[in-house]
Symmetry: C2
Subunit: 433 residues, 2 copies
């Protein structure tokens, strides 16, 4: 191998770049998986929506449509599983796959139970609420895979794409849950207090997700999002939200509004899918560009280093035949000569600076994931320790943030820190802000 | 392969653990490299100390001792290079090696120039100050490899060991630089203002390093450190520091004190090496234990999963031959049966929790590295933008921290943030606190 001839310094410089390329190729495979997951999630959301309609009414005409949606999701699941088989068979290398694989195992575990759920739905042996909850859990587990992929990505551009995509998927999933909740409410003719709280919670969390998405998304995706927000179906959907908020047991609505709600929210979610596809394409493109760039750099890097190495060889040769220079004032024969040394150092410093910039950018993009993790964990803590439901836990955090003039994630951080330091003595009184 | 028979869920659970093991094995190899580097650094520190003595005096009797110290260092360098060859030839996998390899390339580059420096020293063609500075740069580049190893380690226990070792090495290196500075000062009979400032700086940074070391070190290492602090040679060395501080051009000292200074500080540094060896051993032990634990867990994990899989198989078989249960109230045949599902879920949740705890611990240990990086980068920024030297930059940060009632790293963070946002317009006035 020609590289063997290079001095160790130069060989390690090349190996550093090669390692970067390998890591990117690996990441690119994960991103391909993420786009498959994104498509499966969309199919499952559609299936969930129709399952809900099917279970909420006695109408049998919905059954064929539901079955075809199930089939579409099953076929995407099949493709995802085939892609997973590929990964499984590959050599693991020493890359960090532990968390990603644990998430995948969890998602697969829930997917394993999907056929049974589908049968119960078709046979009407489950409630719309239970079916929705089970499918939401499954979709949540798939989103967790995307989150982990974003959290373990090492390229700042790709991480930004993944953070944008994850947040968009999360927002869209919350929109799906909102649609389901609305269907249930309008079916009764009004919303009870708890449903309204949950509706608020879902809307706030959607806003949070889409605002994070906007921070990391491309110009094109952001414009598509703004167009969606200004679209007629979105504005009408918002108006129906207001109507939902004004209902109570004594102010019932025409249950027909439920169908309009479903239709408008479905249009809204379908528009979202267009943006999701855009984000998927951008992600894959970003991987391609990144690999292309490193391959080119690696190629030119190798050429530069080989030239450096040749230069060293020639200078040494020149010295051997030189009779003019005395031992004392000639450049030292050991190691690289000074010109060469300077070029090598320049290359190294350039590489180190580039890595530093990458690290900073990466930290910035991961910050958004870190904040989400904190809020999620604080919510879980409140649910466990205080017996709150999810909306209540979120409302508590938001209120505490307002009272203390802090960011949501700062409150979450403080809550978690106190709890870790003193896990048993978490006085309920203190928790009331 | 037997694993092929397991359902995909269980296979991914196993793959997650296997990935953890591979990653740990890889880390263990890096740690072995770190201990070699630690030993080479010690030898180079000794060589630097004697080079200094040799260059500061005209005494020729020091030359044989110096040559033998150079040889000792060269032989450790040779072993390190051989170990690096091994790594270089290994498959890279997809692990993050880019930063580590860039650091290694830089260290190798400076090592390449060492033979020439040695010749200049023996021939007295360089000043003590220049030789010290060049060797300090080389040692700094080796410390940077250890830092990077610590920063990319994925196991919290091992990261803690590496953080303790890195900070101890850093403190010891500063002690070595202090020794060199003292030798120069006592040789003149007094210290000029700039030397005294630098002496303060070296002592403060030592304290910072050793205090971080203490936070992450084992009980045994901490006790050894406390014993060192209470040792006679350390106390005497501290007294000589006070004497150094009281000197000026009109209050010269007996230059013989320089030899005492050298001897006491050498004893102090030799004691440090004992602790360093302890830390090296603990690090390697920690790697061994970690791998052993995961191997055992992987083994029992595999057994549990295979049992789960068998169970599934049996339950499916049982169902096939059962004539009692009707299709409707029997558990669904698809996917895992509910008992099995619960066991799988338990295992998954256990694994996810363990990973969460590891992540938290890892973040905590890395925080110390992050803080150091911030302070270093802020210092470099001040040096670049304000023309300060290192001591001045550090003094500026410390003063700013005191004035604003902040931690050093918080000031560093603010300085870097402002500078990134507005790289060109960094008003000198604002920098004066």
């Amino acid at each position: 191998m020609q590289e063997r001839k290079l001095p160790a310094t130069l060989r390690f410089m090349l190996a550093a770049r090669r390692s970067e390329l390998l890591r990117l190729e690996d990441l690119s495979q994960t991103c391909a998986l993420v786009t498959r997951i994104s498509q499966l999630v969309h199919a499952l959301q559609k299936e969930r929506g129709y399952s809900n309609l099917y279970l909420s009414s006695q109408a049998t005409h919905l059954r064929p449509r539901l079955e075809s949606l199930s089939q579409a999701a099953a076929s995407l699941e099949h493709e995802l599983r085939a892609a997973l088989e590929e990964i499984d068979q590959n050599d693991l290398g020493a890359a960090e796959k532990t968390r990603l694989f644990t998430r995948i195992a969890h998602a697969l575990h829930l997917l394993d139970e999907l056929p049974a759920l589908r049968r119960r739905i078709l046979d009407r042996r489950t409630s719309a609420q239970d079916a929705t909850a089970t499918l939401a859990r499954l979709i949540g587990s798939l989103l967790a895979v995307v989150f982990e992929a974003a959290d373990s990505a090492v390229d700042p551009d790709i991480t930004r794409c993944l953070v944008a995509l994850f947040n968009f998927m999360q927002g869209k999933e919350l929109a799906g849950q909102e649609r389901a909740l609305g269907v249930a409410g309008f079916a009764c003719g009004y919303f009870v207090e708890e449903q309204l709280e949950r509706l608020n919670h879902l809307q706030e969390c959607q806003e949070r997700s889409f605002s994070t998405f906007s921070r990391f998304a491309s110009e094109a995706a952001t414009q598509q999002w703004q167009a969606l927000c200004a679209s007629a179906s979105n504005l009408q959907a918002c108006r129906l939200r207001e109507i939902a908020r004004s209902t109570h047991a004594k102010a019932k609505l025409d249950t027909q509004l439920g169908e309009l709600w479903f239709e408008l929210h479905t249009q809204r979610i379908d528009l979202m899918q267009g943006i999701e596809s855009q984000l998927e394409q951008e992600l894959l493109q970003c991987c391609q560009l990144g690999m292309q760039r490193i391959r080119q750099e690696l190629h030119s890097h190798r050429r530069v280093l080989e030239n450096l190495s040749d230069l060293q060889h020639h200078e040494e040769q020149a010295r051997l035949f030189s009779v003019h220079s005395s031992e004392l004032d000639s450049p030292p024969a050991d190691g690289l000569s000074s010109n060469l040394a300077r070029s090598t150092l320049d290359l190294l410093q350039h590489q180190a600076q580039r890595l530093q910039v990458m690290q900073d950018e990466l930290r910035e993009a991961r910050q958004a994931l870190e904040e989400r993790k904190l809020v999620e964990r604080a919510k879980q803590l409140l649910i466990r320790q205080q017996g709150y439901n999810e909306s209540e836990a979120y409302a508590w955090l938001r209120q505490a943030a307002m009272n203390q003039g802090l960011q949501l994630e700062e409150v979450a951080q403080r809550l978690l820190t106190t709890s870790t330091e003193n896990p048993s003595a978490q006085p309920r009184a203190r928790l009331r802000h």
